[in-house]
Amino acid sequence: MGAVFTEFPWGVILILLPVTGGILCFLWPQIAKITGLFIVFVVALLVVGLAWQIFNNGVYRHAVGGWGAPLGVDLYADGLSLLMLAITALVGMGVSVYSAAYFKHEQAAQFWPLWLLLLAALNALFLSADIFNVYVTFELMGLAAVALVALAGSREALGAAMRYLLAALLGSLAYLLGVALLYHGFGTVDIALLVERAEPSPVIWAALGLMGAGLLLKTALFPLHFWLPPAHASAPTPVSALLSALVVKASFYILLRLWLEIFDPLVGGAGVEQLLGLLGAAAILWGSVQALRQTRLKLLIAYSTVAQVGYLFLAFPLVAAAGVSAWSAVTYLVLSHALAKAAMFMAAGNLLCFGGHDRITDLDRVVQRLPLTAAAFALAGVSIMGLPPSGGFIGKWLLLEAALMQGRWDLVAVMILGGLLAAGYIFKVLGYAFTQADISHESKAVPASMEWTALLLACGAILLGFLAVPVLSLVGIGDPFGIGEVRP
């Protein structure tokens, strides 16, 4: 019995199942909702299976079709991949339940196949062991995501989708050029083999430049974030949640992987980390200030994503003296931001659905009328602001610790300022929610499942604040950061 579990190729199924599901949903739209929900839940179970396997056997490596590197396609999963898969499954479940109530008729028929394809792309990306595969998943992910944004059908959504498409394609193209350079230089695209063969050379620098630029564009790091706010704000709510919580993280994940395994040992200490940290700091300030200035709720949340992405990059310059804290912080920020931001977009979607608009100043008395949604927004806000007790707080604590160990007061100041600005924009929304203005618009009922999924995801972000020890020990499996044990 145990052997079946430990030998089963969980990873392969994790990719194949959503693809199959997507095709099924496309062919039989009438059963799309049921199929989609079923598959997302099965995927979550599969992740649990994979976790079981990794616990017992250590790092998971599977050569699809028995070919193996450098010829075949390899799948690879360590603690970090596992966590990313898990958070994808978790947010995915929430979004699916939400979408089941959100999308009606034709939109639903279009949503489910695309979402399942996106899920397949995300899973494949987190399991990829070679950089060309990553390119393929990028293309799949980009196309599915763009189509999902366009699903809203409004003029602004189409414009935003167009911009998003261009940014995504440009990013992928730059990335592909980098892959080609590496392949030409070292004759392989497998990450593990590249690590062995690569040596400092102009090719490495050129590849880093191209791949880095492509990935930063996809991750929407300041100043390459221009496409993000319109796309995330005008997409249908479940899509916004997916994009902000998961899709942005996917390209960051690849960047992190490539940096840690290939580039850092070769070009580390040459100022690239400092540049990333600087851009991250700029992103925090710029994104937060912009968020504070917005009058529309969804745009505010989208700019908040720009700011939160900045925190992830602050870790790069801090690794030298405090690698353990810095990388744990990044992991934690990724996870808690995924949960909190998904919850926040869903809460915003509920308000939008309820009042028919998302003007912040007219959010009168929602607290009384949609208490669950308001609570979800507030709890998610706590995590975004980095106040205890929440996942965001743990992440920020670790990051601050790293910055102080290294004596980087400038970064400390940026983090604190970012937190204050975040409090500013969150309470800007909550403050209006408590006013006693007259009800100025007709309200529509919001399905209970939409309120509850938002609340549960937000509670997840809070709960993450108490799970640091197990989660961080999980990341240590396979030593993805090359730092030995994650904290003694």
Partner: protein, 489 residues
């Protein structure tokens, strides 16, 4: 046996969660159960038992709840006053909208306060301290008016910024020492002399962070504005929760993080004492010129809370007793005054001191309670406030800091100057023909749920002064705490 006695700390804490769903019965029974539990733990600790709960938060960092003597002093105060305030709030808010929301956050607020009191290390403290900020915000903006929203915004600006300073200081301290556990006489002995500048900055940051809530002078701006909140909230903010949490934080930092001796050697206590003294005088002076009753009380709070800080900063055992015991005394007296102010507003529509002519004849019980509270504030024996001032003064002399006596005397004079005219108006002037807005309570003075709480707290304030030497009195506990801090190992 130790395992079974670990639990109560957690139970006290866990209880409050359920009350978010609040019904009146649930509220009151929760408050009573908490009181009983606190009593039980109090008895246990006096028998020398240990109550502690730990939960791993990060590798190497734990969430610690521990029932030490200082914690218990604060916990018993909040448990006791919470029960009284709950009764009062139920009476006060009768028939007004959003009561369930109000009591939900109200309970959450007390949960956070108890958490602050019981926390056994700085990160736990920080956690509950921020929770307190978040839980009180909805209470401050409860009325939903534009003024309330504005006050809430200011309140948040101050407290969130203060919280950020605390966070930096805490993390910094952690990177220096690798521990954050509260220990009597501090845990910084191992830190080398080359880090002393850093420690001074950390101390400043911590005091600034806590000083926001304790309303030390340049950081007090939010407090008078927050008076837009309903009276039970003001009472809670001033006497039990927010302001006290700040003062308590300062006490904790000086005693259990730095240790009095270490802090004195760093030379940081002198400036702190001066800051407290300035706050005392400034608060009293401003109070003198307020016509709005609640605002006058607010400035009085600013001044009174700094007694606690002053007692801590003088760095002598007797002054320490005065400071710690004032934590309790100020709570009892100030909550009485706020209850009375709320009663005046709810019964007769009186908000301003100039409207208070002859009110003593219309509402004798309320004004008697008010008088007791006011005399306590002035420091007249036998009310509790006298005990505090006595010990503070004695402690200052013992520590060779005579200037403190002048501050104390000046402040007492000022206190008298802003409280006595109120009392004079209330008792000795002719009442007007009509009150601003009188509500009908039949032959009674006002609703019993509004009347009972201030009378009880006034009695307690009297008792704390009269029976100061009896076992289990606040004073005795304070002595016990001070002994622990100052005894040589």
């Amino acid at each position: 046996m130790i395992a079974s006695s670990l639990l109560p700390g957690l139970i006290i804490f866990g209880l409050a969660e359920e009350r978010v769903r609040l019904r009146t019965v649930l509220n009151l029974s929760g408050a009573l159960v908490k009181l009983v539990l606190v009593g039980f733990v109090l008895w246990g600790v006096s028998q020398g038992q240990q109550y502690e709960t730990r939960l791993a938060l990060l590798p190497g960092l734990e969430l610690v709840l521990r029932a030490g003597p200082l914690s218990l002093l604060f916990v018993s105060l909040s448990a006791l006053l919470w029960l009284v305030t709950t009764v009062y709030a139920i009476g006060y808010l009768e028939g007004s909208p959003h009561r369930s929301r109000f009591f939900g956050f109200f309970s959450l607020c007390v949960t956070a306060t108890v958490g602050v009191a019981l926390s056994g290390n700085l990160i736990t403290f920080l956690l509950f301290y921020e929770l307190l900020t978040l839980a009180t915000y909805p209470l401050v903006v409860h009325r939903g008016t534009e003024a309330a929203r504005h006050a809430g915004l200011i309140y948040l600006r101050y407290t969130i910024a203060g919280g950020a300073l605390l966070l930096v200081a805490t993390v910094w301290l952690y990177t220096l020492t690798g521990t954050l556990e509260f220990t009597p006489q501090g845990f910084l002995d191992s830190v080398g002399a080359e880090q002393h500048t850093a420690l001074i900055i950390i101390f400043t940051l911590l005091i600034a962070g806590f000083g926001v809530k304790a309303a030390l002078v340049p950081l007090h701006g939010w407090l008078p504005l927050a008076m837009v909140a309903p009276a039970p909230v003001s009472a809670l903010l001033h006497a039990v929760a927010v302001v006290k949490a700040g003062a308590f934080g300062i006490v904790r930092v000086v005693y259990d993080v730095f240790g009095v001796e270490f802090a004195a050697n760093l030379g940081v206590l002198g400036p702190l004492a001066w800051l407290a003294a300035i706050t005392i005088i400034y608060g009293s002076l401003r109070a003198l010129f307020q016509d709005d009753l609640k605002r006058r009380l607010a400035f009085s709070t600013i001044s009174q809370v700094s007694y606690i800080v002053l007692g801590t900063a003088i760095a002598g055992p007797i002054a320490a007793i005065g400071g710690v015991v004032h934590l309790v005394h100020q709570g009892l007296m100030k909550i009485t005054l706020f209850f009375c102010a709320g009663n005046l507003a709810e019964t007769l529509g009186i908000h301003k001191i100039s409207e208070m002519n002859g009110v003593g004849r219309r509402m004798p019980w309320t004004m008697t309670a008010f008088t007791v509270g006011a005399f306590g504030m002035i420091g007249a024996p036998p009310v509790a406030g006298f005990v505090t001032k006595w010990y503070l003064g004695l402690g200052a002399l013992q520590a060779g800091q005579e200037w403190v006596i002048i501050v104390l005397a000046g402040s007492s004079l000022l206190n008298a100057a802003y409280f006595l005219p109120i009392l004079h108006r209330a008792w000795f002037q002719e009442p007007p023909n009509t009150w601003p807005k009188e509500f009908d309570f039949g032959r009674k003075e006002t609703a019993w749920m509004l009347l009972l709480p201030p009378v009880i707290t006034a009695l307690m304030a009297l008792a704390a002064g009269l029976l100061a030497a009896v076992a289990f009195s606040p004073l005795e506990w304070a002595q016990f705490i001070a002994e622990q801090e100052f005894s040589r190992p």
